[in-house]
């Protein structure tokens, strides 16, 4: 196994397990797209020009105060096997586009996993900062410094009118995508979620399920992000997004109160069944586990469990994924055997906390 990957597996994930994690807002992320001036974007790159991008950026990253040597890890994606790549994806350090890239691609990660720099993703550079809870301001503060630091040693593709130039014109300008991951079981259970999502989209923001496209509703987890990148500065974009997130959190609180008042037994039943399923199963699919764990998380938020902490639940959201399960057992396993392993994980983790 790759040594740095081994280190990652020992790491607690700061963005998931930090104490500041709020019940509703799980994590915040800001991502900046940048390209090196004078080189073709990845979509038009040759293996040679792409290797040139890595050659230019790898030393810049290694000198970084955030992701540099001793401060972080550096991965050449081509040298990792499929499971190791999956692990990076599940920890949200790499995107699926990066790990599937046909070009030479690389990834620099800070030791605490809050910062990552993807090289040769859709753009030459995708710089990302992740933090626990609802903390876009904190993400911006950090990523602003990281980007300036990298920008001192590299000339970014830039146009006086259009700002930072990106492979896709939907990212041009600030190149910034800010997002917050939210757990919204109250809005889902009170059937208000579709209207809410519709309303948010009307405001020019994007909403997606967090387990990739199409899995809109999985785990009642949602990611809300800005779409506009040009014509407003970073602070304004973040403020507009934050205003909507604050409102969403308030709606979710209201929905939870309403459930507790009007439909208390339905709520208790949902949480109790979810816990029972996780505690007593001998085979659990990924989707099943995510759904049930979402129910348990809801119960923890509402104070229904005395001994189960939100950190444990958040960590399980990561550990239940195929990459983590298989890496921990150091074996590539078929899905049916993963299901057995997953069930065992939950039985052990939840036994002492009933």
């Amino acid at each position: 196994m790759n040594q740095a990957i081994k280190r990652l597996l020992q790491n607690p994930v700061s963005f998931l397990t930090s104490v500041s994690a709020d019940g509703i807002a799980i994590s915040s992320r800001i991502r900046l797209s940048r390209n090196i001036a004078g080189l073709p974007f990845p979509i038009a790159a040759t293996a040679e020009s792409a290797a040139g991008v890595i050659n230019e950026l790898a030393p810049v990253c290694s000198r970084s105060a955030f992701v540099g040597e001793k401060k972080g890890m550096f991965f050449e994606i081509g040298k990792l096997d499929e499971l190791e790549r999956l692990l990076l994806l599940e920890r949200r350090l790499a995107s699926s586009e990066l790990i599937k890239s046909k070009l030479p691609s690389a990834l620099a990660v800070s030791n605490d996993e809050s910062c990552s720099v993807m090289i040769n993703e859709e753009d030459h550079l995708r710089i990302q900062v992740l933090k626990a809870g609802f903390d876009l301001a904190g993400c911006w503060q950090k990523i602003n410094k990281l980007e300036s630091e990298l920008g001192k040693e590299t000339e970014f593709a830039w146009d006086d009118e259009l700002g930072y130039l990106t492979e896709c014109p939907t990212n041009v300008g600030t190149g910034m995508r800010a997002s917050v991951m939210l757990h919204l079981p109250g809005l889902v259970m009170t059937d208000q979620i579709n209207a809410t999502i519709h309303g948010i989209r009307k405001l020019g923001l994007a909403v997606r399920g967090i387990y990739g496209e199409g899995s809109d509703n999985s785990g009642k987890l949602f990611q809300v992000s800005n779409q506009i990148t040009l014509g407003e500065n970073e602070e304004t974009i973040m403020e507009q997004l934050s205003a909507v997130i604050r409102q969403l959190i308030e709606y979710e609180r209201r929905a939870r109160r309403a459930l507790l008042e009007k439909d208390r037994f339905a709520l208790l039943d949902h949480v109790g069944r979810s816990f029972g399923l996780l505690q007593n199963s001998y085979k659990l699919s990924c989707a099943e586990a995510v759904e049930a764990l979402s129910g348990v998380r809801f119960g923890v938020d509402l104070g229904l469990f005395q001994h189960l902490k939100i950190d444990t639940v958040n960590e399980l959201f990561l550990e239940l994924n195929p990459g983590h399960l298989q890496m921990r057992s150091s074996l590539a396993l078929p899905e049916s055997e993963q299901a057995v392993l997953r069930a065992k994980l939950f039985r052990t983790k939840l036994r002492e906390r009933a």
Binding site: I43, K152, G214
Partner: protein
């Protein structure tokens, strides 16, 4: 039925969406649908850049029927456009359309400026960047003016709301921008 994007392979995926009150259908082959999904998802966003490009494609398709009555000039323009190629990276309109509106390099932004501005108009709030900039690059006079206009509006509302502390901060920022604009004017005037 042929695929709307490549117009070569048989369409196997048919998507119906309601847009501006009208039902719009899109027909795609498996390959193009896959690419489109990678480029931003089928309906995962409120909009999809590829559609901006599609509409361009459809327009020229419809125009082809009117080809007979079309004057020679227009036809030449179109032919010229379809043979446009970026001298830096070799990108062309067909590649741009197939990739869902993506560009091959910085130079493409100039070569395909017409399509970029169409995309920007659909997706973005304005066409001038006002955020962070590289330390080495000064701002364009246009960007300075735009931010100044915006701050003036904020100042007016702060004054009418009697938020004097905030108004004072805004005034300071506006004065700084004025100085910057004047310096830019001098620089361009000297040239």
């Amino acid at each position: 039925m042929l695929c709307d994007i490549c117009k070569k392979r048989e369409a196997t995926i048919h998507i119906k969406e309601v847009k501006n009150g009208k039902c719009v259908s899109t027909n795609l082959c498996t390959e193009c649908a896959k690419e489109k999904e990678l480029a931003g998802g089928l309906g995962a966003f409120g909009f999809n850049l590829a559609e901006v490009i599609f509409n361009v494609g459809k327009m020229s398709e419809a125009d082809k029927k009117a080809d007979a009555s079309e004057d020679k000039n227009n036809k030449e323009v179109r032919e010229k456009e379809s043979s446009l190629i970026c001298p830096e990276c070799g990108w062309n309109l067909a590649k741009m359309r197939r990739s869902g509106g993506k560009l091959g390099c910085s130079r493409c932004y100039t070569v395909f400026a017409k399509w970029v501005s169409m995309a920007v108009e659909q997706v973005q709030r304005s066409s001038v960047h006002v955020g962070k900039r590289p330390e080495k690059c000064g701002r364009s006079a246009n960007a300075v003016k735009l931010e100044m206009d915006k701050l003036q509006l904020e100042l007016a509302s702060a004054v009418s709301a009697e938020e004097y502390e905030r108004a004072a901060q805004l005034r300071d920022r506006i004065n700084a921008l004025k100085a910057e604009a004047a310096a830019l004017q001098d620089a361009t005037g000297e040239k």
